[in-house]
């Protein structure tokens, strides 16, 4: 009954992934970088789901679950680090983390 062109779903995933990457590259605020990363993760989730629906298998969704757990764990640790960063430099500029240079 409802048909959709799988390519466009993948296309959407690609676009979202690129936008997320753009966000990570451009922003210097660590929180916004984390958020952009979330978008990237979402995009990959979408790609998995699209593939899953294309083949009619549940694997896509399971991979999506894995992606989500990864995202959750990653955000938890990321935000913890952000707090430490803020306490140390009381700013969220990622460029302060330059001590481990070269």
């Amino acid at each position: 009954m409802n048909t959709v062109i799988i390519d466009h779903a993948l296309l959407l995933a690609a676009i979202l992934f690129c936008i997320g990457l753009l966000g990570v590259l451009v922003r210097r605020n660590i929180i916004l970088m984390l958020i952009s990363m979330e978008v990237m993760l979402n995009a990959t989730g979408l790609a998995f789901i699209a593939a899953g629906s294309y083949w009619g298998q549940a694997d896509g969704q399971i991979m999506f679950i894995a992606v989500v757990t990864l995202g959750a764990a990653e955000v938890a640790v990321g935000l913890g680090l952000t707090l430490l960063l803020f306490k140390r430099y009381n700013s969220v500029d990622v460029d302060n983390l330059k001590q481990l240079r070269g």
């Binding site: 590259l25 210097r28 460029d95 001590q99 240079r101």
Partner: protein, 616 residues
């Protein structure tokens, strides 16, 4: 007695070893005893050997001591070879050498390095005897280089003054150029003939090559190069005038009597080889003539007493080369001997004069010494007569033979004879000029005459030999050279040639006497006239050969050394290490801790990978 021949080189060498081991601690009388004594013993042994050799009129005698090197079929031995030529050379070296040593023991007595002087002279005589007695060319080369070394040591004897050092090094390097040519000649000879033993090589060469063979003339050219280097002939003669920086007995011993004649001996020893290539004989004659003319003109303008004598030595050796070139071998050796007598006499008397004028060598500062130094004046006069070749003296006999032989020989000819006669005229000119300026004319400066038997005796003996030696050898007993050289007939050129040859020296004396003796024409005005001024400076500097060699060789080599002081090949490793440093700097710039840079780089890398995977 003959097999004691090895004693002749051994005595001076023993003297050398004794003086070196005591390294100057020996008291002076002992030093003279050993120094002069060893040469005396050598002379005595030579006399005894000569007596036995001549009484049994042997042609040659070989004494093999030990084989020196042995590689493949090349096995030169450390062995001595005595024949008429070697004997006469020995007589000159040890005889005149001994007289000079006696004189030197007086002359150098108050020099603080007195033992060192005798050390070097003993080594020199040993090396020279080795050179003369060597039976193969490698041993001859040993003597050849040893003599060069000793001349270096003796020229630079007063080492405190760097100019002497420079003169010594110049002498060594210039003679070394000749020696290298000589060595290459040896290699070529060995390549074709397979042995360097002189007698064998000569026999094989005669069998191997016919007349006018290219290789033979090439070898002769190289040997001539060696002889020219050592005997200070035309291309390589610049070192001899500077060699006057050494003490006067050295100039007498090395740069008049013995070492400079080594070249003549070498060509005489290898005469069969030269006979094989007439054009090389002609080349030798031409070199001789050109040298004697060039040095004759230069001697005319010199102001230093010893340099005048040096240039006259070069010209007299030019005569010997001329004699060799025209094939008059025995007269060349005869002239060599007579030249040793009167030139040694001249040098030693000059030494006395210089010593008595407190080391003043400029002839214009001497003058009127005839009254204040009577004996040296007479001796010097006899020497000059010998040099000019005035009839009774020995110089006359030998030079006459050469001039006559030049006229007749195929490789000589009238043109070269004319050059030789002009040379004789020039010799007369500059010798009389020297004598008049030094002895006649106004006297200035105080004089004290060094007394002592050591000064007088050798000079008198030499004067006697210079005067009578020639006649005695010419008539009474021939030099034992007949069996060494191919017996050429005595030359009889037309009498008018002989008369001219005899007359020219007198003409020279007369003209020069007018200029410098009576001062009828003033020499200075003539010398400084517009035409003569540049010519005078040109002659004075030894035909600007020194300047030319400096420009051609010395300066470029020094420049080459200066620009490449830091080894340019060194840039290669240094460049690679510098490149490593630059690479390190560049890479470390990328690790600046910027997280966003890292993310960007990672993104690009991922992009590149996907691109490669997808599109390729």
């Amino acid at each position: 007695m003959l097999n004691l021949l090895w004693l002749v080189p051994f005595f001076p060498f023993l003297g050398f070893v004794l003086l070196v081991s005591t390294s100057g601690k020996m008291p002076k009388p002992w030093t003279t005893m050993i120094g002069a004594g060893s040469i005396g013993l050598a002379a005595l042994t030579t006399a005894l050997i000569a007596y036995e050799f001549l009484s049994q009129d042997m042609t040659s005698f070989q004494l093999h001591l030990w084989t020196w090197m042995e590689a493949g079929n090349f096995a030169p031995g450390f062995s001595l070879y005595l024949d008429g030529l070697a004997l006469s050379m020995l007589f000159v070296i040890t005889g005149v050498g001994f007289l000079i040593h006696i004189y030197a023991s007086g002359y150098m007595y108050d020099d603080e390095d007195f033992p060192r002087f005798f050390t070097y002279t003993n080594l020199f005589v040993a090396a020279m005897v080795m050179l003369v007695l060597a039976d193969n060319l490698v041993l001859l080369f040993l003597g050849w280089e040893g003599v060069g070394l000793c001349s270096f040591l003796l020229i630079g004897f007063w080492y405190k003054d760097p100019a002497n050092g420079l003169a010594a090094r110049k002498a060594f390097v210039v003679t070394r150029v000749g020696d290298t040519a000589f060595a290459i000649g040896l290699f070529l000879l060995y390549k074709h003939v397979g042995t360097l033993d002189i007698q064998e090589a000569m026999i094989k060469a005669k069998l191997l090559w016919t007349e006018d063979n290219a290789t033979a003339s090439l070898i002769c050219a190289l040997l001539l190069g060696g002889a020219v280097g050592k005997s200070a002939q035309l291309p390589l003669q610049t070192w001899l005038p500077d060699a006057m920086a050494g003490p006067t007995p050295v100039s007498a011993l090395i740069h008049a009597a013995t070492m400079v004649t080594a070249g003549v001996y070498l060509i005489a020893r290898n005469h069969e080889l030269f006979l094989l290539s007439p054009d090389m004989m002609y080349a030798v004659a031409v070199v001789g003539v050109l040298t004697l003319l060039m040095s004759g003109f230069t001697a005319l303008t010199q102001s230093d007493l010893k340099r005048v004598l040096a240039y006259s030595t070069i010209s007299q050796i030019g005569y010997m080369f001329l004699a060799l070139g025209v094939g008059a071998w025995s007269s060349a050796i005869f002239h060599l001997m007579t030249h040793a007598f009167f030139k040694a006499l001249l040098f030693l008397t000059a030494g006395t004069i210089i010593l008595s004028l407190h080391h003043e060598q400029n002839i214009f500062k001497m003058g009127g010494l005839v009254k204040r130094l009577p004996l040296p004046c007479i001796l010097f006069f006899i020497g000059c007569l010998g040099l000019i070749a005035v009839p009774p003296t020995s110089g006359f006999w030998s030079k006459e033979q050469i001039l006559n032989a030049t006229w007749e020989s195929s490789t000589g000819g009238p043109l070269i004879w004319l050059g030789a006669v002009l040379g004789a005229f020039m010799t007369a000119l500059y010798t009389t000029r020297m004598f008049c300026i030094v002895f006649l004319g106004p006297s200035n400066g105080d004089v004290h005459e060094p007394k002592g038997f050591k000064f007088v005796a050798p000079l008198v003996v030499l004067a006697f030999l210079a005067l009578v030696g020639g006649v005695f050898v010419e008539t009474a007993w021939q030099l034992p050279l007949s069996n060494v050289f191919p017996g050429g007939h005595a030359p009889h050129p037309p009498t008018v040639i002989v008369v001219i040859a005899i007359a020219t020296p007198f003409l020279g004396i007369a003209i020069s006497y007018l200029f410098y003796g009576k001062r009828v024409f003033s020499a200075e005005k003539f010398a400084n006239s517009a035409l003569m001024k540049p010519l005078k400076t040109f002659f004075d500097s030894g035909w600007a050969m020194d300047w030319f060699y400096d420009l051609l060789l010395v300066k470029p080599y020094q420049w080459l050394a200066k620009i490449n002081k830091k080894d340019c090949v060194n840039l290669l490793p240094d460049a690679s290490s510098a490149a490593a440093k630059i690479l390190h700097a560049a890479l470390s710039m990328t690790q600046n801790g910027q997280l966003r840079l890292y993310v960007g780089v990672m993104g690009t890398a991922a992009l590149f990978v996907i691109f490669v995977v997808v599109f390729l």
